[in-house]
């Protein structure tokens, strides 16, 4: 194998054979090492989180990847190809100026005009002091009801956009709530206050693009309508043909009301899990 080892000869064939072997082994090892090194660099340069989210986003069903402009009725059909990153979407401004013609009928779910909504069913409310409050929206609240347990981040912890902000457990299922914005956790609210995070955003809220990736106004209405339609189809009784109810409101604590439903799929669609 090596000079000095019993069996090694300085013959042409021996040297060529072993050189080829070592070249192959070296290529394989360098390949693995470079992948590991580049992955480490991705984490150091904060690219890893974005890569991870984009990869997860690509695995989401088409119906979960609808563009905000489609939800608002500004375009007939458009699939987001930018992982919901409207901050860096070159098509955003092109469509944002178009009039909204989407559904404005009541969904029976409350949403606040001054809040910004993330597709993972969280909202962001800004405060005068430059901080934000993050909470779970009405639809998610109706689904989960009272969670069996909640794991909120520690005060001072950094939270990344689209990554897990906090975890909840309900009926043996883990629910990961995605963060609608990146920043540092300043305070947390418990069960009494309705689970929330108070955060200092990493980006300046005065910049117009900071909250651009979140839904507002008619986009929220259109999105809620679609989400309710999805829920009605997913939670219908087994062997029942697909049909939409014409009226009624969502019952609270649906996970307990309909324990036999396919909650893996429902929760994955609701909280953007691939």
């Amino acid at each position: 194998m090596f000079p000095g080892i019993d069996g090694f000869h300085w013959s042409f064939g021996h040297v060529v054979f072993l050189s080829l072997f070592f070249a192959v082994v070296l290529t394989i090892l360098v390949t693995i090492a470079s992948s590991a090194w580049r992955a480490t660099q991705d984490f150091r340069n904060h690219r890893a989180i974005d890569l991870w989210w984009r990869s997860q986003f690509a695995e989401l069903p088409l119906a979960d990847r609808r563009c905000r402009h489609e939800l608002a009725g500004r375009v007939i059909s458009r699939t987001c190809d930018n992982a919901f990153d409207c901050r860096h979407c070159d098509k955003y401004s092109q469509f944002a100026v178009l009039p909204s013609t989407g559904n404005v009928s009541s969904t029976g779910l409350e949403y606040w005009r001054d809040r910004y909504y993330h597709r993972g069913h969280t909202w962001v409310e800004t405060a005068q002091d430059g901080t934000v409050t993050v909470g779970l929206d009405e639809l998610a609240d109706h689904l989960v009801g009272t969670p069996d347990s909640v794991a909120l981040p520690e005060v001072g912890e950094e939270v990344e956009l689209n990554q897990t902000a906090w975890r909840m457990n309900k009926n043996g299922r883990e629910i990961r709530v995605r963060a609608p914005i990146e920043g540092t956790v300043l305070a947390i609210g418990g069960a009494q206050e309705g689970w929330y995070l108070k955060m200092r955003p990493r980006l300046d809220l005065r910049e117009p693009g900071t909250l651009r990736h979140l839904l507002r106004g008619p986009e929220v209405q259109g999105w809620f309508t679609r989400e309710l339609e999805r829920l009605q189809l997913q939670l219908r009784a087994p062997s029942t043909p697909a049909a939409l109810a014409d009226g009624g409101v969502l019952l609270p604590d649906l996970m307990n009301v309909l324990p036999e439903a396919d909650w893996d799929t429902v929760l994955a669609d609701t909280f953007l899990e691939a």
């Binding site: 194998m1 069996g7 192959v24 394989i28 992948s35 990869s55 997860q56 697909a242």
Partner: protein, 420 residues
């Protein structure tokens, strides 16, 4: 609607329908039992030695080597598909790339496991690397197979990390992303390694001067069997892949890949098989008329021992060579699912027959005047060890199919409602 009791649904890709966990476990249980018997038999061989087999000094190659050579040839679909997709940029074969990697990994890891039992003394396995005999074809085989198994394992990692739960772990997913970028390099290395070890396995027989039935002339240090093994492996590999995919489609009742993929695999396999048959025919004619007479043997001598008569030669070249080559190549016959699968099965049988003839007939036919025609029947330990490898293959493939994205997402996955 999915039941929450004894369910592994959260490990299965969304939109993919799989049988229930209890039924899946029921499917696995007989294979697990077979694997346990195989492990026991292998343990006997490793602990007591090769006296547990019916091989001896004369019949040193038996069932294990024959089947090893067979599955290594059939596993060639892995490197060849990688070569076609990544090096020749044949994107239409991408849908079967993952399943090709899994099939290749099963074939090669199974073959290496059996080789380790056959060689024995696993604690001294490093000797072959530390003190290599570079004049031996087997050394090249050992080096190449070890490296290629490593390559296949690395190619399997990105598929493994695409599991629904594993890809939720950021470090796994980012590593998978980076590893995926270098897969073309691994595919190129795999092609080089496979090319040489398939060839060296054939060359091993071609250099046996003391066995004129197998001995062949050739080019420089490589006998013709070196090239014939490569050709037959890359010809039968795609057929085996085609066959496995069709079997999985049948068992699962799902359409996994487009018909065009089948036809493309069939065409590649057919053309290569036709080339192999032509090369094999020329090689046989040279051997019958020059190589064998030069060694002092009339060709008929090899074929007077039943069951190794001339029909076996006819079967190898015509029945399981030329016939499937024609059926696979022509679009009209390849369009019929029945004919296509029959032809693919015949092509795989042909390569197995070739490995059988070279392993068993080579050792069975007498060479010296006082030699007798030898009979060999494998012991139950040999059969059980190999059955264990087959069981391992079925289990690994079943687990991979259930939990990993071996095929493109099913049609309609984008629907919101599972099952719609």
């Amino acid at each position: 609607m999915a039941s929450t009791a004894l369910s592994d649904a959260r490990w299965i890709d969304r939109g993919e329908e799989r049988t229930s966990l209890p039924r899946f476990l029921l499917w696995l249980s007989p294979w697990a039992l077979l694997l346990a018997v195989g492990v026991y038999a292998s343990g006997l061989c490793l602990y007591y030695g090769l006296n547990q087999t019916n091989m001896d000094n004369r019949f040193a190659f038996g069932l294990w080597i024959f089947l090893d050579l067979g599955i290594i040839a059939l596993g060639a679909g892995a490197f060849f598909t990688g070569f076609l997709v990544y090096i020749l940029k044949r994107a239409e074969l991408k849908p079967i790339l993952n399943t090709a990697v899994v099939v290749g990994l099963i074939c090669y890891s199974g073959a290496v496991a059996i080789l380790m039992i056959d060689v024995g003394q696993p604690l001294r396995a490093w000797f072959t690397f530390w003190h290599p005999n570079t004049h031996s074809m087997l050394t090249e085989v050992t080096f190449c197979i070890s490296c290629y198994l490593l390559v296949l394992s690395l190619e399997y990692i990105p598929i493994l990390l695409r599991n629904r739960q594993l890809r939720r772990i950021p470090s796994f997913l980012v590593f998978e992303h980076q590893l995926h970028k270098v897969v073309p390099v691994l595919a190129a290395v795999g092609t080089l390694l496979s090319f040489f070890h398939q060839g060296s396995l054939g060359g091993l027989y071609g250099v046996l001067r003391g066995r004129p039935f197998a001995f062949r002339s050739g080019v420089l240090i490589w006998p013709s069997t070196f090239f014939l093994f490569i050709l037959s492996a890359i010809a039968s590999g795609p057929s085996f892949l085609l066959l496995i995919t069709a079997i999985v489609e049948k068992v699962t009742g799902r359409k996994l890949v487009a018909e065009e993929v089948y036809r493309r695999l069939a065409f590649i396999s057919g053309v290569l098989l036709a080339t192999y048959v032509a090369a094999k025919s020329i090689d046989t004619l040279i051997w019958l008329n020059y190589t064998s007479p030069a060694a002092g043997f009339a060709p008929w001598q090899y074929y007077q021992h039943k069951p190794f008569g001339t029909p076996i030669l006819f079967g190898e070249i015509v029945l399981f060579g030329l016939v499937p080559a024609l059926l696979l190549t022509f679009r009209k016959t390849a369009s019929s699912r029945g004919l296509l699968l029959t032809a693919a099965a015949m092509a795989c049988t042909g390569v197995l027959l070739n490995r059988f003839v070279l392993t068993v007939q080579t050792l069975a036919v007498p060479t010296l005047p006082f030699d007798e025609f030898l009979h060999y029947t494998p012991s139950w330990q040999e059969v059980a060890s190999f059955a264990g490898v087959i069981a391992y293959g079925v289990i690994l493939y079943s687990l991979s199919y259930r939990y990993l994205p071996l095929f493109p997402p099913r049609q309609g996955k984008d629907s919101h409602v599972s099952g719609n």
